[in-house]
């Protein structure tokens, strides 16, 4: 049974109008990139907003992308960096969050604040120092360098969100586990983690997207051909004097795909994660 407020027609029209206009606004650039990636260079500039038709349709951009440079290699690099970072952030973030929410120890609050500090201070401020460290450790031009930096970048938010969720897991449940003789690790992996899965998905999405899209650290720490990520690879086609727009747009369109797949995997959990606090 719908309540009076939600069934009123003007209200629902207004709500839909706002939501639809926001969706259009958010999707417009993405759609524009995808459409134009299927057009000839002339068509892109003559009428950037029109759909590709029989005359303007062209796969030249995709051909260039696949022929020039090692795009599958770039994809592989991006995927390795993103997935490995994701696993590390989720594992260590959840462990730290569990410790903060579960155990009473001296300096618990301070430790929590210290670990959350990274949310407010951008890691890019430390780029020079990070580069020096990586040079010193001999990790320049390796994927390891990127994974380490991104893990550090992702942990604060992960710990912050997960520790809030872990606090909501019933103490009695954990105590029941202790009385059943479960070790703290078993309690963490078998009881608590399954219950905060929606929160884990939320963290996964928020961690994954900035890493996939990042240009800064790949450019500085791992610009070599064999460690290039997709976003860095696409820069090949942007020159100082000539930019191959077909190729750039095609590369970007391709780059959307894997992250879209990952997002769909997490999204069902994500919705539950966002609403789980509000709706009981």
């Amino acid at each position: 049974m719908a309540s009076k407020a939600t069934s009123s027609l003007p209200r629902s029209v207004a709500a839909h109008a706002i939501l639809i206009s926001y969706t259009v606004l958010a999707l417009f650039p993405v759609i524009l990139i995808i459409f134009n990636s299927f057009k000839t260079r002339k068509a892109i500039f003559r009428s950037p907003l029109s759909l590709p038709d029989a005359e303007s349709f062209s796969l030249i951009g995709y051909r260039t992308v696949l022929e020039q440079g090692d795009f599958f290699g770039y994809f592989q690099n991006s995927l390795i960096v993103t997935v490995v970072t994701l696993l590390l952030v989720l594992l260590f973030g959840a462990m730290a969050a569990f410790a903060l929410s579960e155990y009473r120890f001296r300096g618990n609050t301070l430790m929590g604040l210290y670990l959350a500090l990274g949310i407010m201070i951008p890691i890019r401020l430390g780029t020079v120092a990070i580069l020096q460290i990586m040079v010193g450790a001999g990790l320049v031009n390796t994927l390891t360098a990127l994974i380490l930096v991104y893990t550090a970048q992702g942990l604060p938010l992960a710990i912050f969100i997960l520790s809030e969720f872990m606090r909501s897991v019933s103490d009695d449940l954990k105590n029941a586990g202790r009385i059943d003789g479960l070790s703290e690790y078993t309690i963490f992996f078998r009881l608590v983690l399954p219950l905060v899965r929606p929160a884990m998905a939320t963290v996964a999405v928020f961690t994954m997207i900035p890493i996939w899209n990042d240009l800064w650290f790949p450019l500085i720490l791992a610009p070599a051909e064999e460690t290039k990520t997709v976003t860095l690879g696409a820069q090949v086609f942007i020159g100082q004097f000539v930019t191959n727009w077909n190729a750039v747009l095609s590369a970007l369109s391709l780059a959307i795909l894997p992250i879209l797949v990952l997002y769909v995997i997490f999204s069902r959990q994500l919705i539950r994660g966002i609403t789980s606090g509000a709706v009981k």
Partner: protein
């Protein structure tokens, strides 16, 4: 089968002491109920026995072995929680079997134990279900099943019935009692509900502000409450209290209202002139003709319960809490026709007076 012994057990959180030394010896197979208002420390005591809270002073022994520094599992106890604390992502069978599996018991034996417990608790047809597909009562049974399959030295219950509705609570109360009787397992049961406490317990521990005010059988606690707190906490409606003074000659007590109450039959250890508080249970008052009445009640509200009629009102003369007119309640037979606004002459039943010291609030012993 085993005994539990607490010797001057204390607990502090930081500098605040919340349990001020509890001593109790629980005999083998005994059902002990710890009862008290919320925040009195009853759950803390239970959690210390379970090993979920550290003990900051004194000793806890199970079966004669000091367990202060043992992990919960090593104490061989099982606990039933208020919100059931079932593993939400496991089936009923796995919920009961998980502890045994962790302990490395052979699969065949686990299955047998779970089947036996499920049969005892009428859970056989639900073994494959998840906890969220069960009703509150069934979940509570699963929680008890999880405790039973471990065949522990002792059961610890932490307000297990608080989340159930009234009718189910009565039914589960009986089931718990029967189960404990048939298994003969030593049990510690925490509740704030005095009806649960009275009906389940072999012995009661009445706690207040971190102190065990009285440890005794339910009937003895009811008939000889050790302090004003215990007297007021056990019994519903709670006991009426009036300030009084022992008259010279010690055969009567004079009340603030000017009335005198006969103290005949009470051999008073206290000297005459001593200021005391008398306690009278609402059920120990009867209607009387005005000339034979001990007290006159000004009725403010009448609650007809069918079998009983509860009458609430006030008595002339200051109450123990400093109010101008002492509030007072009486439990009369259901057929008593009483209207609000009337005055009611009441007689105190013979031998129903409780005497307490006004300073220490402790019971004045009858000799």
């Amino acid at each position: 089968m085993s005994t539990i012994s607490l010797k001057s057990v204390r607990k502090s959180f930081g500098k605040t002491e919340v349990i001020h030394g509890i001593d109790v010896e629980v005999a083998d197979g005994e059902f002990i109920v710890i009862v008290g208002p919320s925040g009195c420390g009853k759950s803390t005591v239970l959690r210390m026995v379970a090993g979920l809270e550290t003990v900051t002073g004194g000793d806890i022994a199970i079966d004669g072995n000091r367990v202060n520094d043992l992990e919960p599992m090593e104490r061989n106890i099982a606990m039933v929680f208020q919100n059931y604390a079932l593993y939400p992502h496991m089936s009923v069978f796995d919920n009961m079997a998980y502890g045994l599996k962790i302990a490395g018991m052979p699969k065949a034996e686990i299955a047998e134990r779970v089947q036996t417990a499920a049969k005892m608790l009428q859970l056989e047809e639900y073994l494959t279900r998840k906890p969220r597909q069960l009703s509150g009562g069934q979940r509570q049974r699963v929680a008890m099943g999880r405790a039973i399959v471990r065949e522990p030295s002792a059961f610890l219950f932490d307000e297990p019935l608080s989340n159930l509705d009234a009718k189910l609570r009565v039914q589960m109360r009986l089931e718990i009692k029967q189960l404990q009787r048939s298994l003969g397992t030593t049990s510690l049961y925490v509740t704030h509900d005095q009806v649960e406490a009275m009906t389940l317990a072999d012995r009661l521990i009445v706690m207040n502000a971190g102190v065990a005010e009285q440890i005794d059988t339910p009937m003895h606690v009811y008939e000889h409450p050790a302090s004003i707190f215990v007297a007021g906490f056990i019994g519903s409606p709670s006991m009426n209290f009036l300030p009084a003074k022992i008259d010279t000659g010690r055969s009567t007590l004079s009340l603030e209202s000017g009335a005198n109450v006969s103290a005949e039959g009470l051999v008073l250890a206290a000297q005459s002139g001593r200021e005391i508080i008398i306690g009278i249970r609402p059920e120990h008052l009867e209607l009387a003709s005005p000339d034979r009445a001990d007290l006159t009640l000004h009725i403010a509200a009448v609650e007809t319960l069918g079998a009983d009629t509860l009458v609430h009102g006030s008595i002339a003369g200051a109450g123990v809490d400093g109010t101008k007119n002492a509030s007072f309640a009486a439990r009369l037979p259901g057929n008593a026709r009483i209207a609000e606004g009337e005055t009611l002459p009441l007689r105190i039943a013979d031998g129903a007076l409780h005497l307490f010291d006004r300073q220490s609030e402790k019971r004045i012993a009858e000799i």
